[in-house]
């Protein structure tokens, strides 16, 4: 199916003298991580299906600088930010969609102060707008009646107050949305934020992702829905640690919708 993916780059658009409706910011996880690449492709299939005129930066994209900033390296963050902003502004980008809440937060909140002003959307918000505008339709299909719990990414939820867009999409699947003990503004972190993804945790009595997975297991879902590639990895590892791989799948919202469409 991958050969049918249409993924134009900004450079190609530029060569044709055209401007896309939206730039898809893929992010490092979405570009390089095997699991996250599947989410990237699922989202692209949905964009293709809805005939969205989009482009990616491709090899001109670089890390937003989020992990460097949160590790305390403001220099490296700002070098990354200024470089990315130069590229984005040169292409006169107005609107960006991304499937990574960390990229979303950084570009939306921290780039404006450095000269990068864009309308930034998380892919769940974007997908919801496609549905609202009738450009995309979904049937419950294979997820009808399934128990799905949504794990709020910190950088989408608390950081930016986006709680409903991903939940609205799950409801549209005719699935049974169940909430964990800690959800929405009190959602428990997966343990990856603040550059923790790239280091071993400090000594303690449990891994954060295991603690969060236990909360998920408690509500007996068939699927843990994620909206962040880092959360996806952490929750997948957590499900493995709890020996629940055969019962619980961890899937991004974009995958749920693409699969419901048999895309």
């Amino acid at each position: 199916m991958s050969n049918t993916l249409k993924v134009p780059t900004m450079a190609e658009y530029m060569a044709e003298g055209k401007q896309p409706e939206v730039l898809f910011w893929v992010g490092c996880m979405g570009s390089f991580d095997d699991r996250a690449k599947k989410v990237t492709k699922a989202f692209v299939r949905l964009l293709n299906r809805a005939n969205v005129d989009f482009a990616v930066l491709g090899t001109e994209e670089s890390c937003t600088g989020d992990p460097a900033k949160r590790a305390g390296n403001e220099f490296l963050f700002q070098m990354q930010a200024v470089t990315n902003i130069e590229v984005l502004n040169a292409y006169e980008i107005k609107k960006i969609v991304t499937a990574c809440p960390h990229c979303f937060n950084t570009i939306k909140n921290e780039y404006p102060g450095l000269g990068g002003n864009y309308q930034v959307m998380h892919h769940t918000q974007f997908l919801k707008s496609l549905l609202d505008e009738g450009r995309l339709t979904i049937e419950g299909g294979q997820f009808k009646g399934k128990r799905i719990t949504f794990h709020d990414p910190c950088y989408l939820g608390r950081a930016n107050n986006v709680y409903e867009a991903p939940r609205d999409l799950i409801r549209k699947l005719d699935a049974e949305l169940v909430e964990m003990k800690s959800c929405k503004s009190r959602g428990l972190c997966c343990g990856a934020g603040g550059a923790q993804m790239f280091k071993e945790a400090e000594p303690g009595n449990k891994e954060v992702n295991v603690a969060r997975t236990e909360q998920a297991v408690d509500v007996k879902p068939e699927i843990i829905a994620a909206g962040c590639p880092f959360c996806n990895t952490m929750m997948t590892d957590g499900v493995k640690a709890k020996d629940k791989e055969s019962e619980i799948a961890v899937m991004d919202i974009a995958e749920l919708i693409a699969n419901a469409q048999d895309l």
Partner: protein
């Protein structure tokens, strides 16, 4: 006429308020040791935050039991303080219940005060039980031993005593009881004293009256030395609290200037550096003077309720990090710096200590996931995360002391634009896989 009580009262009032004012000046001086920060933006949102969060207690009720009890104590204290106005006038003028002349309304007011006093008394007892008998976990963490633990209980004892004295004062006031207007609670306490002579009851009434007002003045002065300053500082703190999205960290302006220079093709790299009169800015924070004044105000506002710590994923999984301890350490170090300044005639004398390592360890700082659970949980808009971030910045930018794995990650970002050693030219390979 005998003016001695009036004079004694005036002296007590002057000493009580004067000493408090002196400490408030010290408090403001200490807070101003922090960097300046622009808080002139979003004025209407700031007023709204103060009205909702501090005045309206909107965050307190997120935990309904503690929130409900807290509202009783909060409303009780504010309203019963109207009575203090009468006490002050009576004390200075030598009158007795000067407002009783206003008629039936007086009974309504005092009746309301009495009901509230009883509710506050009961609530404070429940608070004490939650802390000492039920032993709710967040009150028994590592940082809640010795003074912080005692401080919390002293506050509860003082509040119990003040409410009790208020009710006893009313119950033993024979004229007030005879009015039978507003003694809704104290009428049931009065019979306890019925066997005593009128003279003895009068002495009890005077004693309760004096102990009540001296207790209030004493409590006022206790605030500065206690975690209880939040009853005043919650208001400015919620006003000056963060108004940007929680996920937004500030971009360091000093870094922006250097990055712009580095990126500017017109800059002559061999040009002589202009003579700078100022010391180069320190990146991040290793001590309280490197923080901004809002962060220091945060530290004085913290009442150590521990909601931040109980929501913290690192703390929940047994790591050393406790956002509450970050705030307590910041305040303790700030107090130490303040005392140093007092002892050295107004200037800080290097004491070989700092906030980093002597108070907050690196292990705590590196355990944070920046998830904002602590800032969301705080009922008075305190931001422990900003202090953690400023201290990480110091570790990384001034000391190059990040954990090795993070250094690897940052080297990758620097060299190939991703946290892993993948080539930037392979970024679109997923398309064809």
């Amino acid at each position: 006429m005998n003016y001695i009580p009036n004079i004694l009262f005036a002296i007590a009032l002057i000493v009580g308020i004067g000493y408090f004012a002196k400490n408030v000046k010290k408090l403001i001086r200490n807070i101003k040791l922090g960097h300046d920060v622009d808080v002139s933006d979003n004025t209407s949102q700031r007023w709204k935050n103060m009205a909702m969060i501090a005045l309206g207690q909107s965050k307190m009720v997120k935990r309904p039991i503690a929130g409900f009890l807290h509202i009783i104590v909060y409303v009780g204290f504010i309203i019963i303080n109207i009575e203090v106005l009468e006490i002050i006038i009576d004390g200075l003028a030598g009158t007795h219940r000067i407002f009783s002349g206003i008629g039936p309304l007086y009974g309504v007011l005092i009746g309301a005060f009495e009901v509230l006093a009883l509710l506050v008394f009961v609530s404070v007892i429940i608070f004490w039980l939650r802390r000492n008998a039920i032993k709710i976990k967040r009150f028994w963490s590592k940082e809640m031993t010795a003074w912080p633990k005692n401080d919390a209980n002293y506050i509860l004892y003082i509040e119990m005593a003040l409410m009790l004295l208020f009710l006893v004062m009313n119950a033993t006031d024979l004229k007030f009881q005879a009015m039978n207007n507003g003694n809704v609670i104290s009428q049931f306490i009065a019979p306890l004293f019925s066997g005593l002579s009128e003279g003895t009851i009068h002495i009890i009434e005077r004693s309760a009256w004096w102990m009540h007002i001296l207790g209030i003045l004493g409590f006022l002065n206790y605030l500065y030395f206690s975690k209880h300053l939040h009853i005043l500082l919650a208001f400015p703190n919620t006003y000056y609290g963060k108004v940007k999205p929680k996920g937004e960290l500030d971009n360091l302006a000093s870094v922006t200037a250097e990055v712009k220079l580095m990126m500017d093709p017109n800059v002559d790299p061999f040009a002589a550096q202009p003579e700078s009169t100022e010391a180069p800015a320190k990146f991040g924070a290793s001590d309280v003077q490197d923080l901004n004044w809002v962060q220091l105000l945060n530290a004085y506002t913290c009442t150590e309720c521990g909601r931040c710590t109980s929501e913290c994923p690192a703390n929940q999984t047994g790591k050393k990090l406790s956002p509450r301890k970050i705030m307590m350490d910041t305040r303790d170090r700030l107090e130490e710096v303040g005392k140093n300044i007092d002892a050295n005639g107004g200037t800080f004398k290097e004491d070989g200590k700092q906030l980093l390592d002597d108070y907050i360890t690196r292990e705590e700082l590196w355990a944070c996931t920046t998830c904002n659970a602590c800032t969301e949980a705080c009922p008075v808009s305190i931001d422990p995360l900003s202090i953690i971030m400023d201290m990480r910045r110091y570790l990384v930018m001034e000391q190059s002391a990040a954990p090795m794995e993070l250094n690897n990650m940052m080297t990758n970002v620097e060299n190939n634009g991703a946290p892993w050693p993948y080539n930037q030219m392979d970024r679109l390979n997923w398309k064809n896989e």
